[in-house]
Symmetry: C2
Subunit: 293 residues, 2 copies
């Protein structure tokens, strides 16, 4: 969990509550009960955690320690595609050792956020027989912790990364060959996020594509990838199966919820979402690729 | 019609027969009878024109004049996404005034290649009551010939451009709003090509998305956009209707044929295509976005 300072084309926004756990948790909360594991500092409002809990994101696993909350300051280009990190303050996140409450140890659907692979392994070790383990990672760990990341990959059912990370991990430019290489490293399933261009899903010889929902008003893409992953896992947990139809539906759900995330600063739109709005946009997204009449 | 010198990651290829008319014509030839209008110089082999004619691309409208054929020399980056023009020689193309043979004047489906908008208008003036007029254009005409291009847009049923051109034409970054702006300039339908990310179709409030077929072996993207447009129009001509299902099918056909184009240097793969290969890949492309089971 984090505070973000966002320099957006639409204005500057300070102290926006963010972080992977927040975005993914809120996104998933529309489909299932959620258990968040994170760390915050003394400056993080209890009211925000209470609000999350009320929305169905349990914060029993959110540790509060002495010091300040993780903080990220980023500036987006006018097209919202490229962004520059102006400052990162790890703060309490620097010494974070995720410790799961007893009540979390039987959690069937697990999403490991983009943290040090050693910590991802420690989280996993605390969970008994999960049904699906998904994880995110980033260039920093791919370059600097490849061996440990390799250990994580072997334990994954699903890896969710973007196309640059895929190419870096596979050391191959061609997406399809890179995907095959990464599937060979352990995860049975792979999702490649491509931002406004949608996402690709790989499993064995199967490929599935979900487009991004074309938005007329793009405000803040922060957290869209996390919202995608959160809603995806939430949808799978809700359906309770991992068959082909459930996974394809979950990918459409992820793309739908991610599109809402972009429509307002921070988690504002994710919080204001209701089932009817999600259903309407799911129908539109389906129509966007539906061939027959 | 052109000679291309292609510096590709896989090697250097000189005097490759190319040009919009060649790629679009060959792509369309798998679905319908094609009539090409173009200019070549004395250096262009008659055997190539004879071969095109044998493949169903009539070359009665291909003028041969004194001088050399249009020539383009381009170098592709290793990822095949960006390319640099090293040299362009207009040659006989500089003074080209398309003149349609009498036998071409009743042609129902018209694709106006990316030439000066004044010439696009002259071609159109020679055709009696076409059923569908589609056109391509480029940054050069959008910046330098906006008024004349505006005249062309008013006469179009379908504009086929890439996303950069769309944004330049609409002077708007957001794709959906840019599309609406361009639809307001005249064309009833708009296709926005996004290369490896697929294409978007806009008509009124309707949007349709077709992904690019994910290729494992990308060799030469030259002419892929022209192949897309050619196969699209060929498919529409074959179906004979412009209803929703026919258009969506035609977009999948365009994406399919464009993907073949990329698999070999120049028009090699387009020439070697057969119906069974097209059908197989169409099925795969459909499965790529098919939600239900």
């Amino acid at each position: 969990m984090a505070f973000d300072d966002l320099d957006l084309p639409s204005g500057e926004f300070k102290n926006v509550v963010g972080g992977s756990a927040t975005y993914a948790g809120l996104a998933a909360s529309h489909f299932t009960e959620v258990r968040a594991v994170a760390v915050v500092g003394e400056d993080f409002p209890q009211a925000t955690l209470d609000d999350l809990a009320q929305r169905g994101v349990s914060c029993a696993g959110v540790e509060r320690t002495a010091g300040k909350t993780f903080r990220w300051w980023g500036r987006y280009a006018k097209d919202l595609v490229s962004r520059t990190t102006l400052d990162t303050q790890l703060n309490v996140f620097a010494d974070f050792k995720p410790k799961l409450p007893q009540s979390y140890t039987q959690t069937p659907y697990v999403l490991l956020g983009n943290i040090h692979p050693a910590l991802q392994l420690e989280v996993l070790a605390q969970i008994k027989e999960p049904r699906l383990v998904a994880a995110d990672t980033m260039n920093f760990w791919i370059a600097g912790e490849r061996a440990l990341l390799g250990e994580v990959l072997k334990k994954l059912d699903l890896l969710v990364i973007n196309d640059e990370e895929l190419r870096q991990l596979a050391e191959t430019h061609n997406l399809k060959r890179a995907a095959r290489a990464v599937l060979g490293m352990g995860p049975r399933r792979l999702i490649v996020k491509r931002g406004e261009f949608g996402a690709l899903y790989f499993e064995g010889e199967e490929t599935f594509f979900v487009p991004a929902y074309p938005l007329e008003e793009e405000i803040d893409p922060t957290g869209a990838g996390d919202s995608f992953a959160g809603a995806l896992l939430g949808s799978l947990a809700q359906r309770g199966t991992l068959d082909r139809a459930a996974i394809r539906q979950a990918l459409h759900t992820g793309a739908t919820v991610a599109s809402f995330c972009v429509e307002a600063v921070g988690t504002k739109r994710l919080c204001a979402l209701d089932q009817a709005a999600i259903r309407r946009r799911m129908t539109e997204l389906r129509a966007l690729v539906h061939l027959g009449d």
